[in-house]
Symmetry: C2
Subunit: 209 residues, 2 copies
């Protein structure tokens, strides 16, 4: 590759399988430089994955800061100082303040395990999303990658994949099948983002081939 | 066929292409007796289709009744008197009162041109649904067949089909592609309903093969 790869940071709060999907796709055919894994606490699975891959990792836990604003303000200094261009939220359970969103413009993306605008927003995270889908009796769910703005799960949608809900599904079973799609969709979106092939105009997102 | 086919009534307020899809499927391999087409006004396309097929048709227009309750109460007498077992709302734009829903229990179904619970409820009908989907920037939409309860588009879901939203889509173009799925999904659901293969427990709907 003659061009330098874009630096990204991945934010995670859990096991980090979405994070791993970006690592794996990037190994096969590199499209980014994963500069940091930012974890919301120590000891989570995502941290172990970063360690194993030799990716620089940092913990930004609420208990180490006097406020969320202070946490994100220090995080901004770290990431901008290192030349990070894109931020990928891969199961990041912390609220992102408006100031941080504005600091990175349309360069933060998130993956959510439903077809937004269904089953998203405050209170819909992790297994709770799939529990709600099953309780509602929806027959189709899926996953969404979207730009992050100041509204929870409300930013412009980049891509979605549909997944059938089966009559026998438990929240865990549905989550597992949706994760399989997430692990294809997220690396695909990060690649397109880093290649400059995603064009956003208001809520319209166009992906160039 | 040794068993008598179940009588259904189809309610429509527009061109009646969903109605036609039930007629066509029923001609190929009969699963119901379409006893009535109920139209919300004279001169709509659905009326012409009923006439052409020799299906009994009636207009129940708000302007001919002192109230919606009176309209639905007369409609109930007509349908129950004729032994109609299931009601299929196929583009019926009139609000259904609770009393009518209760009179028919879980024997009224509706088709809606989105993946409920997204883009449904008050204000989302006809082309407005697809305009909203495109304005929001959703990448997947679809259609839903559900039982009718007292909440707008809120009853238990029977079946859904996903349809991709294309970057070049106009509301009309998206509507056209979703209608193609509706025309497969609706007759399939009506058949399962008339064959007694749909089992509803709370919001859980199971379709037996």
């Amino acid at each position: 590759m003659s061009e330098k790869l874009k630096k990204i940071a991945v934010f995670a709060s859990g096991g980090g399988t979405d994070f791993q999907s970006v690592i794996d796709a990037n190994k096969k055919e590199p499209f980014c430089d994963i500069a940091f894994l930012i974890a919301s606490r120590a000891g989570i699975g995502a941290m172990e994955r970063a360690e194993k891959e030799g990716i620089e990792r940092r913990v930004y836990s609420s208990k180490d800061f006097s406020s969320l604003d202070e946490l994100y303000s220090e995080l901004e200094v770290l990431l901008k100082g290192a030349g990070v261009e894109y931020i990928v939220l891969a199961g990041w359970l912390k609220i992102i303040p408006k100031s941080f969103v504005e600091a990175f413009g349309d360069r933060i993306i998130n993956i959510h395990p439903s077809l937004i605008p269904a089953f998203c927003g405050a209170g819909y995270y992790g297994l709770k999303v799939h529990e709600a889908v099953i309780e509602y009796g929806a027959k189709i769910s899926g996953c969404t990658v979207h730009f992050v703005d100041e509204t929870p799960d409300g930013g412009a949608i980049i891509a979605q994949r549909a997944v059938e809900v089966l009559p026998s599904d438990t929240p865990e079973g549905l989550q597992k099948r949706i994760l399989e799609e997430e692990h294809k969709l997220l690396p695909w979106c990060v690649r397109k983002l880093c290649e400059g092939k995603i064009e956003k105009t208001g809520r319209k997102v166009l992906i160039k081939d």
